[in-house]
């Protein structure tokens, strides 16, 4: 067992350390990475260091304008919170679907996977506009609540944070499920039987066996959902409306409507840095759970 593991590790190291003749094969990818990712990123940083919209002089004013303004700091915090809330909802839904997946027969699993992938085949614009129909005051949600007597007047979840989170959770759910199910599908059923045979309740099995073993999938899913929902410009602006202001909207306004590229660059970098920060925390949590 240990010998096999060390063999594997040695193999991995050998594969990482490329011998000289293999470098040219990596070069195209490396050049693409430098040319189309690092260089634009450097350009973004350079743009952000200009003081005025016309980019005539360098200065920290654009950064100060963002970091010194409570309004923009709130926009940044709201954006991250939106991501976290969406992650929380997709996490609950994802684990629930994952448990169904765990109990399903192979044929049922295939069907379930097909249903999960299906929404990805639709454009996000179409899915977002469908949510206008669902969440509006004459929509399915409002009408259902009226019919059930839960409410006396039609209501609209459009332009509310709750409505936005619900629709984002649906839109981003496949990103949570695909990594999660691929990990959960590999859990040895014997471990669950063993847990039950040793007297653990269903909840204890979930907390002590299933979730720790699913941690890599959960982490990957959370990262994808978080990064994608904080940047979901279309859903944020169409479902969220004009009163919920998030960083992607500010970036769009500043770069495309008022041409203040330095300020747009500052907001973009702040979004990038704060999202990376949260992703770092999620990643760290994931590793701790596994450990």
């Amino acid at each position: 067992m240990t010998a096999a593991a060390s063999d594997l590790r040695a193999g991995a190291v050998a594969r990482l350390r490329l011998s000289p003749p293999e470098w040219p094969l990596v070069a195209p990818l490396g050049l693409i990475f430098v040319g189309f990712f690092l260089a634009p990123l450097a350009l973004l940083v350079w743009t952000s260091m200009h003081a005025d919209a016309e980019m005539t002089r360098l200065g920290p004013e654009s950064w100060m304008r963002f970091l010194g303004d409570p309004f923009y700091l709130k926009v940044a915090a709201d954006t991250l919170l939106l991501g976290l809330k969406t992650v929380a909802l997709t996490l609950v839904l994802g684990v629930a679907i994952g448990l169904i997946f765990l109990e399903a027969s192979p044929a049922q699993r295939t069907a379930l996977l097909f249903i999960i992938i299906l929404p990805l085949l639709l454009s996000v614009v179409v899915r977002t506009f469908a949510w206008i129909v669902i969440l509006g005051s004459e929509g399915v949600v409002s009408n259902a609540a009226l019919a059930l007597g839960l409410t006396s007047a039609p209501f609209s979840l459009l332009q509310t944070e709750l409505g936005l989170i619900i629709s984002l959770a649906q839109i981003e759910l496949p990103l949570m499920l695909l990594p999660l199910l691929s990990v959960m599908g590999r859990i040895d059923p014997n471990l669950l039987d063993a847990s039950r045979a040793l007297g653990a309740s269903r909840w204890r099995t979930l907390w002590r066996v299933i979730l720790p073993l699913s941690a890599p999938g959960l982490t990957a899913g959370c990262l994808l959902v978080f990064a994608s929902s904080t940047a979901a410009f279309i859903s944020q602006s169409v479902i969220g409306g004009g009163r919920l202001i998030y960083m992607p909207l500010v970036i769009w306004q500043q770069s495309i409507v008022v041409y203040n590229w330095p300020f747009a660059a500052v907001v973009s970098l702040c979004l990038l840095i704060s999202v990376l920060g949260v992703i770092g925390v999620i990643h760290w949590l994931g590793r701790r759970v596994r450990a």
Partner: protein
């Protein structure tokens, strides 16, 4: 194992094939072409189906469209710095004034445009010709609300609760908010009174939305009042939505969408042929019909009776705005609107 999966010959062969495929997809910039920026959506559809064939028939020039919003065109032309990404701009007044200040256009030689004399001359200048007019006013759902008499009505409780608001990101939004401001004591350069009024009715309004979402919200019955242009009203009406256009008592707002030849354009002669085709009576008349509903700019075209004026000359009496004054203030207004309406 992995080492031999892709040998050098396979990789090089694959790369060569991929490059070949990519190159074959490059646009042909032959002499018979003109590359024109165009608004995505109905403009692109209209120009592809009407202007393209008309241009080929009239002068053998092939029209290639680059779908971009006005602000994206400016951004792209600005980012290209001297290497024209297309030959012709199509712009609304705000971005058109910005592009002028940035020196992105070349002067036009009107003698090369046989239809130039038929244009409403108030909208023609040395660097641009109008290609379509827009008239902005109030759209309302006649089955749900009474016809509003003017901008002030929007702020009465019975109207405010059905109103959809949008900010300064678009030309129709900016000009409407300016007109609202004028009613309450503001001016073309002072929108503070409008902001005050909006803050007052904010808890009641049906929606504050991004401009692109407005038509959808109206269609879904989420809002029954909005400020918009006649084209949006005609398009929604065409889809069976209960919607009418009301001219405010202080007058409807008129502005034109203009075309400009890019400063370093590659296909200047073809660009002139393109402009002349766009403003020809035949093309303008087709663009006016459903489903495109453009307001024509060629005086030879008989206007449809659904339009809020009988002749193009009446547009001289409509409210117009000076975008060289608005542009410097607009970034501040956009930011202020964000702050005021933020939940």
């Amino acid at each position: 194992m992995t080492r031999h999966l892709f040998n050098r010959r396979a990789v090089l062969g694959g790369a060569a094939a991929a490059t070949g495929v990519a190159l074959s997809g490059l646009p042909a910039r032959a002499s018979g072409d003109v590359i024109a920026a165009i608004y995505p959506g109905s403009w692109e559809e209209a120009f592809r189906s009407i202007v393209g064939p008309a241009l080929t028939e009239a002068s053998g020039v092939n029209l290639e469209l680059d779908p971009l919003y006005a602000v994206d065109q400016i951004a792209k032309a600005r980012a290209a710095r001297g290497l024209a990404p297309f030959d012709v701009f199509v712009l609304d007044p705000g971005p058109a004034a910005s592009g002028m200040e940035m020196g992105l256009y070349q002067p036009l030689d009107m003698s090369k445009l046989s239809n130039a004399a038929k244009l409403p001359q108030v909208f023609v200048d040395d660097f641009s010709i109008p290609v379509a007019a827009q008239v902005v006013g109030i759209a309302y759902n006649p089955t749900k609300v009474a016809k509003p008499a003017g901008w002030a009505d929007l702020f009465k409780p019975e109207f405010a609760s059905r109103l959809g608001l949008t900010g300064f990101q678009t030309t129709f939004g900016t000009t409407s908010l300016i007109e609202i401001s004028k009613i309450f004591g503001g001016s073309e350069t002072d929108v503070a009174p409008a902001m005050e009024k909006i803050k007052e009715i904010l808890p009641q309004v049906a929606a504050v939305a991004q401009p692109s979402a407005m038509a959808g919200l109206f269609q879904q019955g989420q809002i029954d009042l909005m400020y918009t242009n006649t084209q949006t009203v005609a398009t929604l009406k065409g889809r069976g939505v209960d919607i009418e256009f009301a001219v405010p008592e202080t007058g409807a707002i008129a502005f034109v969408t203009t075309m400009h030849i890019v400063k370093d354009a590659e296909n200047v002669e073809n660009a002139y042929k393109y402009l002349d085709t766009v403003i020809s009576a035949g093309v303008q008349d087709k663009l006016m019909q459903a489903p495109f509903n453009f307001i024509p700019v060629n005086g030879d075209v008989d206007l449809l009776d659904t339009l809020p004026m009988a002749s193009l000359d009446e547009m001289n009496g409509f409210v117009r705005h000076d975008w060289t004054k608005i542009n410097p203030l607009r970034p501040g207004w956009i930011e202020q609107f964000n702050r005021e309406v933020a939940a």
